[in-house]
Structures are given as structure tokens and as C-alpha cells.
């Protein structure tokens, strides 16, 4: 399979596919971060995670339309506004869902799975009714278009670089919030021992609600970033939910580092394979490999040692 390419070509192919893999990696990390918080920290399986992401994508789409119509002068910067709005919208919806649905089901994780699947169906149909069944695409401002030539044969798209920077920024922010802020300490305390956390005066219900909201909000930002590399339809979220869960499970549910490492492995494997095989076979092989590895090492790549 390498026969027809020269060494230089192969180098360029691997570099470009590697970069394509990095963009996929960024999107995976953004999507998986929210899930890692919700699933890893709270133990809730949120099958509607993809739909929260799509909410962010639709918010971005609506914002870009609004800026184009009313504030064309500010259009180049609309994306930052859209991201904040996407975070707020998805986070608020997440907190509402936590209050109405999830908090009744903390003791029954398999049932949260079914209930949030129901929620995802409702949201999909709501998007279809509100925005139509057709996929929508966002118009990017000029400065995000085009690509940068690193060498003669290697070029990288600018929006990809932007998504990567965004991912790095958000990952750092999440790590800071969870591991260094007072609120993050409260979240981890509740995760480790709910009763004791309550006994020392942490409002566990409030912590749950905000944690869930934060996870959904990050999904919203992921959706916002997603609009830059693909179009959005009512059922787009469902396409990614399995991948996202695999990323989180493969990385070891409670570990942020594991999530990032597994997102990196999976996205690189897939985009490199995609060049040589068809897209579907690349996906099949990657997923099969993950399932195989999980059978050998069910706790995932990075497991925290906890006493149950």
C-alpha cells in the first residue's frame, strides 16, 4: 500500500493526515470533556450529550445569521459571542434537565441511560420542528478561511488551528476549575463520598446541578466548534455519541488525562487509517480495537485507584 508514494510524499501524507487527526482530536476532546465530567465524575450516562452539542451548533448558526443581518461590521468576531451563547444555552438546558430528570435517577444509572435517550429523541424532533430537517452550515468570517502553507507539500487549514487553540484553552480552564478551584474541590468531594461531603456542609444538590450544567455547557462549545468543520442537522449529535462514549470509557472514566490521551489515540488511528482504507472500515477497525482493548483492560487506559 506504500508502493506508489515516494518518501517525501509519504511524509507529507502522514503530516497532513496527522493534522487532520489533530482536528478530529480537538473535537473529540471538546465533546468528551463534557461527558467525562458528567459520566466520569457524576456517574450519569447522558445519551443526550450529542443533542446538547447540536444545540450549541444551532446557537452558533443563529448568531452568525443575526450578525450577518444586523451587525455586519462585527461579523469577524461573531464566533466568540456565539461560543459564549452556546455555553450558556446548553448549560442552562443541562441544569433544567438535571433538576427535572436526572436528580431522581442518581441511584439507577441504567435508567438514566434510557431516560436521557428519550430526552435526545425529544430534542431531535424539537430541532427538526424549529430549524427544519435539512442540514445547516455556518458562514465563516474571512480570517478563518483558507490555509497556511508550512512547506510546499504541507498545508494546514486555519479553522483547524483555531479549533485546536480553543480546545487547549478550554481543557486548561476545565482542569483549573476541577482541580484548583474551591468549587472543583467540592465536586470531587461529592463524587468521592456524597454523604460525608453533605455532612461537612457542601450543598450536594447544588454541586450536582452545576456540574451537570458545566458538562452540558462544554458540549455546547464543542457544537459551536463543530460548525467550523461540518454542517449541522437534527440528528448529527447521534452520529458522535458512540465515539464520544468510547473515548471516555477507553480513557478511564474518572480521569481527565486519560480522556485526552484516548481522544488522541483514537483520532490519530482513525485519520491515518482513513487515508488507506475507506472511512467506514477505518471507523470499524478503530472501534474494534477499542472494544478489544477494553475487554483486556476494562478499567481503561488511566484508572484511578479507588476503594469502592
Amino acid at each position: 500500500m506504500f508502493g506508489d508514494y515516494s518518501i517525501g510524499d509519504l511524509g507529507a501524507i502522514f503530516a497532513m493526515q496527522g493534522f487532520a487527526g489533530l482536528i478530529l482530536f480537538s473535537v473529540f476532546v471538546l465533546m468528551a470533556l463534557g461527558l467525562a465530567i458528567i459520566f466520569g465524575q457524576m456517574g450519569v450516562i447522558n445519551m443526550a450529550h450529542g443533542e446538547f452539542m447540536i444545540l450549541g451548533a444551532y446557537v452558533t448558526w443563529a448568531t452568525s445569521g443575526f450578525f450577518q443581518q444586523n451587525l455586519p461590521a462585527l461579523f469577524p468576531g461573531y464566533f466568540f459571542v456565539a461560543m459564549i451563547l452556546a455555553f450558556i444555552a446548553a448549560g442552562a438546558l443541562g441544569m433544567l434537565v438535571e433538576w427535572a430528570l436526572i436528580r431522581h435517577l442518581y441511584r439507577r444509572p441504567l435508567d438514566t441511560l434510557l431516560a436521557t435517550w428519550g430526552l435526545s429523541l425529544i430534542l431531535q424532533q424539537a430541532y427538526r420542528s424549529a430549524f427544519g430537517a435539512r442540514e445547516v452550515g455556518v458562514e465563516l468570517p474571512d480570517w478563518m478561511m483558507g490555509s497556511k502553507h508550512l512547506t510546499d507539500t504541507i498545508e494546514v487549514p486555519i479553522n483547524g488551528i483555531f479549533v485546536m487553540c480553543l480546545t487547549a484553552l478550554i481543557t486548561c480552564a476545565v482542569a483549573y476549575v476541577l482541580f484548583w478551584s474551591r468549587w472543583g474541590r467540592q465536586v470531587r468531594a461529592v463524587v468521592q463520598n456524597r454523604v460525608m461531603a453533605g455532612a461537612v456542609g457542601i450543598n450536594t444538590e447544588k454541586v450536582d446541578r452545576y456540574t451537570f450544567g458545566l458538562g452540558c455547557g462544554i458540549a455546547g462549545i464543542a457544537g459551536s466548534a463543530f460548525t467550523m468543520i461540518g454542517s449541522t442537522g437534527p440528528t448529527s449529535g447521534q452520529l458522535y455519541i458512540v465515539d464520544t462514549f468510547m473515548v471516555v470509557v477507553f480513557g478511564g472514566a474518572a480521569s481527565l488525562v486519560g480522556t485526552i490521551a484516548s481522544a488522541f489515540t483514537i483520532s490519530q488511528a482513525r485519520s491515518t487509517l482513513e487515508f488507506f482504507l475507506s472511512g467506514s472500515m477505518a471507523q470499524v477497525l478503530t472501534l474494534l480495537a477499542i472494544v478489544g482493548i477494553l475487554m483486556l483492560r476494562p478499567q481503561g487506559l488511566f484508572a484511578l485507584k479507588v476503594r469502592k
Binding site: L101, L113, G118, M246, V249, V284
Partner: protein
């Protein structure tokens, strides 16, 4: 032991009789062949639902990949029927006569090796049982032996459903791709597309369904069934009592897989095609909801749940396509939040107590309610 010595207790026998009356007399007399064929299609899902009662309701193992086994059974059957339909005489206009049409379209010139044995009906029937059982055994053994359970098991089975769908869709030349295997005509020379054939197949299917009900009830009533329930409630205690928890889970998962595959094979016969849209994540989760609506602890509940959800789906999506997904989503949430035991739970709590005094006599009913066993009663909290 007194109550559990018999396979069916008195009220279950009545439920069985009522179901037989409905499926064998009322529906065939009351519906035209088209509607009856729809019922037959729904009932194939009931096989999956019964499997889930054992695996999920009793054993506490939620599999989100039952569509995989439904599909494996269905595809085995479809491969046999397709080979029969693409005899050399039927396909002489193709560039390679004698192979299925979709292979010809995809420039295959030879039947792939794994299609070869499906020329034989005996092999096909064995495969319908063996392929899903072996597959479930491998998956179950790999996961349960390492004590992967609950949520992780659900996610991994879901990934397997995704993998199989992508594989079937991607390998168009070998599997028929997204269209599936279509244009199935005869079973050993007997045309399965006529109204009369559909009528007969319906009764064959109901016979299989009752066999499945009896088999499932046998498992539940046996000591094995009690261990499954014990495992669901306190897995560690069962393990420390010296039982191999993994083996029991593997068994429950395999038997659910075989039930699903039988349903899938009958589906292919009844509906006349098989496609990846019955394999993936969405159908697999829908099959779980049939069980949840009917009652995850009740075999009969699962059958009624399947029928009711599917009837609702057909009539709603015919008249209000917009509302159907809202309705289905709300159903999921309502069942989980408000009625964890589904219709069977409602029946047991509200209808049965009023029915029993009429049917059994007052004193017998009181005795029965006093001695209600934990296995059938307590909610799956």
C-alpha cells in the same frame, strides 16, 4: 417451594390463555392479512423483548446491542433465501449468473466463502441459533469474566451494534449495504410472498413465541432464575456464596441473544427482507423500550408492551409524524421516572388485586397476596 414447583402458577396460566386467545383467535379473525402481517412483524420484536426480560429484568444486565443478534438471525435467514432466489435461471441477465444481484452490481464474480454454506437449509437453521449464541458467548465471556458490568457493558454492546452496522453498510458487495438483502421469494420452493403463506407463517411464529415463553418461564422458575435475581440485587453476595457470577451472566446474555435471533429469522420470513436499519443503535434501544413499557420483570408484559408501542408507532407516525418522536421520548422518560415496572407493574398493583377475588375466590386471593415472593414482586430499585 409449593408455588414454584409448577412452571406456571394459576394467574400466569390465565395470562397465557388470554394471550393465546388474542393471538390465535381474535387477531386472525379480526384483522385483514395486511394488518395481521404487521402484527407478525411486531411479534418478532417480542422475542427480543422476552430475551431482555431474562437478561435485563431478572439478571440486571442491560444490553443495548440486541439488534445485533436480531440482525444476525435475520441475515442468516436472508442469506439462505437470497441464494434460493438467485438461482442461475433467475439471474441469467447478470454478468455472473447464480450470485445475488447486489454482488453482481458490485463487480463480484464469485460467491464469497461465508455465503457458501447457506445453500443448505439445515446449516442455516443451525446457524440461526449457533452464530448469535457463539458471538454472545465471546462478548459475554470477555466482559463478564473481567467483571465488566452495568453501565460499561451497556456502552460496549452499543459500540458493537454501531460496529456491525457500519460494517454491513460499508461492505456492500458482501452484505447488500444499506439496502440490505431484498427481493426474497421462496422457502424451499414455497412462495413466501402470497397472502396464504403470510397467514401460515403468522401461526408458525405464534407457535415459536409460545415455545419461547415456556422456555423463558422455565429459566425464571428454575434455581438459575433465582440466582439471576439474586445477582441483580446483590452481586457480591452471590459471588461470595461460591457461585460463578460470570457464567450465569454469560448464560442469560446468550439465551437472550438466541431469542433475538429467532425473532430476526422470523422477521426476514414475514417481511421479506433484512437490512442494517434493524441492527444499529436506534432499533436496539427501541427494543429495550418495548420491554421497559411492558414491564421489565414480566414475560407477558414484554409481549404486550411490544405490541402496544409498535401499534402506537404505526398509527402515530401515519397520522402525526411530527408528534411521534415527542411521544416516544416522553414514553421513555415517563416509564423510567414514574412506572419502572411498566404496564405489568400497573396491572399487578391495580387490576390484579381486583380481579383475583373474582377468579380465585376471596380466601385463596388473600393467601396469595400474603405470600407474594420477592422474585416476582419487588421493584428493580
Amino acid at each position: 417451594m409449593n408455588e414454584n414447583a409448577r412452571l406456571f402458577d394459576r394467574s400466569e396460566l390465565m395470562a397465557l390463555a388470554a394471550l393465546a386467545l388474542l393471538l390465535l383467535v381474535i387477531l386472525p379473525l379480526g384483522l385483514d392479512v395486511f394488518r395481521l402481517n404487521l402484527v407478525a412483524k411486531y411479534l418478532t420484536y417480542a422475542f427480543v423483548a422476552i430475551g431482555l426480560v431474562l437478561c435485563w429484568g431478572c439478571g440486571g444486565i442491560l444490553s443495548l446491542g440486541q439488534g445485533v443478534f436480531f440482525g444476525l438471525g435475520g441475515y442468516c435467514m436472508a442469506m439462505f433465501l437470497k441464494l434460493e432466489a438467485s438461482s442461475v435461471a433467475n439471474t441469467k441477465i447478470q454478468s455472473t449468473p447464480g450470485i445475488p444481484d447486489f454482488m453482481d452490481w458490485n463487480q463480484l464474480t464469485q460467491l464469497p466463502f461465508f455465503w457458501q454454506p447457506f445453500h443448505s437449509l439445515t446449516f442455516t437453521i443451525v446457524a440461526i441459533f449457533a452464530v448469535p449464541a457463539i458471538f454472545a458467548f465471546i462478548v459475554g465471556a470477555a466482559l463478564f469474566k473481567r467483571q465488566v458490568g452495568g453501565v460499561y457493558f451497556a456502552i460496549i454492546t452499543q459500540a458493537i451494534a454501531a460496529i456491525l452496522t457500519i460494517l454491513i453498510v460499508g461492505q456492500q458487495g458482501y452484505t447488500g449495504g444499506i439496502n440490505g438483502i431484498t427481493d426474497l421469494r421462496t422457502l424451499k420452493g414455497w412462495d413466501i410472498r402470497t397472502d396464504q403463506a403470510k397467514f401460515i407463517l403468522y401461526f408458525v411464529e405464534v407457535a415459536f413465541l409460545f415455545a419461547t415463553v415456556v422456555a423463558a418461564q422455565f429459566v425464571r422458575r428454575s434455581k438459575l432464575g433465582r440466582i439471576l435475581v439474586a445477582m441483580r440485587e446483590k452481586e457480591d453476595r452471590v459471588r461470595f456464596s461460591g457461585y460463578s457470577v460470570a457464567n450465569f451472566k454469560i448464560f442469560a446474555f446468550c439465551i437472550a441473544a438466541v431469542f433475538a435471533a429467532v425473532g430476526g429469522a422470523l422477521f426476514t420470513l414475514e417481511v421479506g427482507f433484512m437490512s442494517p436499519s434493524f441492527v444499529g443503535i436506534v432499533p436496539s434501544i427501541e427494543m429495550v423500550i418495548y420491554t421497559a413499557v411492558g414491564g421489565r420483570l414480566s414475560i407477558f408484559g414484554a409481549i404486550y408492551g411490544t405490541l402496544i408501542v409498535n401499534f402506537a408507532k404505526t398509527s402515530f407516525s401515519e397520522s402525526f409524524p411530527q408528534l411521534w418522536l415527542f411521544g416516544l421520548g416522553a414514553l421513555f422518560i415517563a416509564v423510567v421516572l414514574a412506572f419502572p415496572n411498566g404496564l405489568a407493574g400497573l396491572w399487578r398493583d391495580y387490576v390484579q388485586p381486583r380481579l383475583d377475588p373474582l377468579l380465585l375466590g376471596r380466601s385463596a386471593a388473600a393467601a396469595k397476596w400474603a405470600g407474594r415472593s420477592v422474585a416476582d414482586g419487588a421493584a428493580a430499585e
